[in-house]
Amino acid sequence: MSDYLFLIPILFPIITGALILAFPIKKDKSRNAVTFTISIINMIVTLLLLIFCDGESVVLFSFNESLNISLHVDGLGRFFGGLVSILWPFAQLYAYEYMSKEERRNSFFAFFTMTLGSVLGISFSGDLFTMYIFYELLTLLTFPLVMHEGNKESVKAGRKYLAYMLGGAAFALMGLIVLLNFSGTVNFMKGGFLAGVAPENRELLIVVFVVMFMGFGVKAALMPFGKWLISAAVAPTPVTALLHAVAVVKAGAFACIRLIYFCFGAEYLHGSFGQYIALALTIFTILYGSCMAVKETHIKKRLAYSTISNLSYVLFGACLMTDDGLYGSLSHFLVHAVSKIALFFCIGSIIYVTGKTSIYDINGLGHRMKKIFACFTLCALSLIGIPPFSGFMSKYNLLEAAINEGSPLAIVGMLAILVSAVLTAIYLLTIFMRGYFPAENKLSDGIDTAHDPSFRMLTPIMVFTVVVFVLGLLWNNVSSLIML
């Protein structure tokens, strides 16, 4: 019974969001209040359910014997669902201020709210097919957000977004059909449902794994399919921050983790050529993302490249196909979510206040927007991986898993992560340097009067910065949360 309750956090935002879309709320204040209340209520309900309800599989609807719509709440789902529902209200708080200058705010917040439901749907799905449905829904709901600005560039970005997403999902769907054909079920099961199924077809199934991994990898910005994330950086910052640093890309990573550990099974894949291909792709992406981030001068796109790189840390951990690997992967999942959202918010505030988007135009801004830059610096240190910040702990777990796995590719991956850490330092600290130490002490034009934004934008940033720091110190408690 209790599992039907998990429909509430999924459907509530989708229905209320649709209602707001159908019956627009004209006044900003009341719409903000309504949407904020929705996400707060949703957060409370989700957390209460996660704490008090034990997960049981429940079938909502059956197409035939093997194809169901079902919910199942296990450790991984709790982790992702909890993370998303906690981050959401903060992002909304930030969005109210940021969007106050933009047009068509009603539809923006309607879709923004609906997206929450689809992400929670992904995290509470009980089988691959249900997850696939919510996965597609997430694509369709975020598509209007990407092209929100409505100019030529964003329409183009939106099309690209849709093409990549649907293409990736199509690959995943093909794999889903093959899997269904061989095993007769696609219900998630710890350790995978393929153990002992069709041993003579193992090769084929591993090819299917590679195809599906790449398919889900599109959302997780795995190269060579990650370029959409860069084009999508034209979207308003709350979208880039929440969706492209947390919800959408993390949904992709989440799907990959589900695929590896709950469909195929880590043991089934470990040591196969599929694992090596997956590892090689993630290692390539880690390096590619960081290198491109160093090259990029548009601040938001720079962080988008950084997301590409960091998401592949998560995938790399997952692809080690060990328990340690999963643990490291989820550690970085969590830490990256919090630090990257804070970094994006800082950058967003800079764009919101000064209108500057190039790193060449922010010389000396650190002396004007003091709080924003202080938070930026601390989160940057975390992402680089300097103790005692949480970024160090997550990298520690990842690298420990890589050493313990011990295969040559894992060691290469470990070195790649360290090289990427140096590159991270370069692409983040150049912003810090320009902000605090402008050459010749000259400020860039037009930032003389810049100042910290209002509390609605500052609060989420500061809260996340504190969390980034405290998570590192309380890592022991955090890790018990992640250990599934």
Partner: protein, 491 residues
């Protein structure tokens, strides 16, 4: 008692922050007094820690493996005392030097922060704590490097952090590996790695130790990551470049000592390719640094190249893993600090007071600032290694250690390189006092006016100049202390 560890590390950091944020410190005088009081109180705390029994303090325990812990041992005593002495002395020098600087409060603020963070590096009792303070030191000493904020200074600052962070991350490989394979990870003389743990992946262990040596060697100016040093040190204001060269480069040395002698243990490294590569890199750096210094025209840059060369003497001594060479190396740490701080302070005064930056502009400078140049002369002689000045003792022990270590080729190659480098040192340092005091008969400077720095700055210069002699004549107590470290390490 162990609460003093917190005082030594965090009190100066807080004091440094106070210098930025307290509005009442607007007047230069008030700020100087405030800074001096904080530095002296920290110095007292450091001294008490260094001259009493071992204490330790757990700052924070993240989980079973990762903890931030401070403890005092002989290595930390040596380096802390050296650091404290130099920081206090140079602080008094900088009061006069920074007088007309607009951003002097930033300078003094970060000066104090660096003082605390360095103590943190020395007192760290495991690799992760040390790594944390190591990175903090890079970031907090950055404002000292780019203090003047000219385009070149900012570019040098960027180069400085990227090399430093790159080096630190490179050495992080070893940190991760050691943490992963060993049970206990707090520094132990002779290494905490047991034979079983070292046998797990011997090649990986060696490769990562090499990474750590190269990575931490970055701060010490070891080839191939030395390139930032001659860019960043000269561009800083005089007192800052003195400390960067004299003290902060030594934090790289401390880190290498901690990894090789206190974490891994020399037994697993002796005789392997790591030792040979390390020796080759160090000797090459010694030679290269001296050569580059010899052909460098700008005084401060010349001194920076000299630092590249001299710190690698220390690293060469450590790489021999021989008791006499180890003592020689640590002696050279102390002596080189004294000498190089002195040289940079004088160079700073010369540039500050006369505006001459190139060595060939320094004719008759000895007549303008006799005491400073006299001190410079003593320090130069010491660095070249002419008895009884102090450099002789350390170089003697380094050469003796190399010869008696019995390592093929290097036993002879090492002393030979040291000798050549000593000649080059004479070649690049002595022109300053020679031209300074004896500009030649055709050089007639009619209007020689005294421009000796003020007493507050002159005293540190004179003290250091005399110290280079005293330390050379009475190295006994120091050597005895270093020998206790060697016994502890069972080299």
């Amino acid at each position: 008692m162990n609460i003093l560890l917190l005082v030594s590390v965090f009190f100066p950091i807080l004091g440094g922050l106070a210098v930025f944020f307290i509005k009442g410190l607007k007047s230069y005088r008030a700020m100087c007094i405030f800074t001096a009081v904080i530095a002296l109180l920290t110095a007292v705390s450091n001294c008490v820690l260094c001259f009493t029994d071992t204490v330790s303090l757990t700052l924070w325990e993240v989980n079973d493996t990762i903890a931030f812990v401070f403890t005092t041992d002989n290595i930390s005593r040596l380096f802390t005392m050296l650091m404290t002495f130099m920081f206090v002395l140079v602080l008094f020098y900088s009061f006069d030097y920074m007088k007309h600087d607009e951003k002097s409060n930033r300078f003094f603020g970060f000066y104090l922060c660096v003082m605390g963070v360095l103590a943190g590096i020395y007192f760290s009792s495991n690799l992760i704590t040390m790594y944390m303070f190591y990175e903090m030191m890079t970031l907090l000493s950055l404002p000292l490097v780019l203090h003047t904020m000219t385009k070149e200074a900012v570019a040098a600052g960027l180069k400085y952090i990227f090399y430093s962070i790159g080096g630190a991350v490179l050495s992080l490989t070893a940190v991760f590996y050691l943490y992963n394979s060993a049970d206990s990870t707090s520094f132990t003389p002779g290494g905490f790695l047991t034979a079983e743990e070292a046998q797990e992946h011997p090649e990986l262990l060696l490769a990562f130790v090499m990474c750590a040596i190269i990575g931490f060697g970055c701060k010490a100016g070891l080839f191939p990551l030395h390139d930032w040093l001659p860019t960043a040190h000269p561009i800083a204001p005089g007192p800052a470049s003195a400390l960067l060269s004299g003290i902060i480069t030594k934090s790289g040395v401390v880190a290498i000592i901690r990894v090789v002698f206190y974490s891994v243990g020399v037994d697993f490294i002796r005789g392997t390719w790591v030792q040979y590569t390390w020796m080759i890199l160090a000797l090459f750096t010694v030679f290269m640094g001296s050569m580059l210094a010899y052909r460098e025209k700008y005084l401060k840059k010349r001194l920076a190249f000299s630092t590249v060369s001299q710190v690698s003497y220390v690293l060469f001594g450590l790489s021999l893993m021989h008791p006499v060479a180890f003592v020689g190396a640590l002696l050279h740490v102390v002596f080189h600090s004294t000498i190089k701080v002195d040289l940079f302070l004088v160079a700073g005064s010369i540039i500050h007071n006369t505006g001459c930056e190139r060595v060939d502009e320094l004719k008759s400078v000895g007549k303008k600032m006799p005491i400073s140049i006299l001190s410079f002369t003593f320090a130069s002689l010491a660095l070249i290694g002419i008895p009884p000045a102090c450099g002789f003792v350390s170089k003697w022990m380094l050469a003796e250690g190399a010869l008696s270590s019995g390592i093929e080729v290097f036993a002879y190659l090492g002393p030979a390189v040291l000798l050549v480098s000593a000649l080059l040192t004479a070649g690049y340092l002595l022109p300053v006092p020679i031209d300074g005091f004896f500009p030649g008969s055709e050089y007639k400077d009619e209007h020689i006016e005294k421009c000796e720095p003020k007493a507050l700055s002159l005293v540190p210069i004179a003290v250091l100049g005399i110290l280079t002699l005293i330390l050379g004549i009475f190295p006994g107590p120091l050597t005895n202390f270093l020998e206790t470290i060697v016994t502890e390490l069972c080299l």
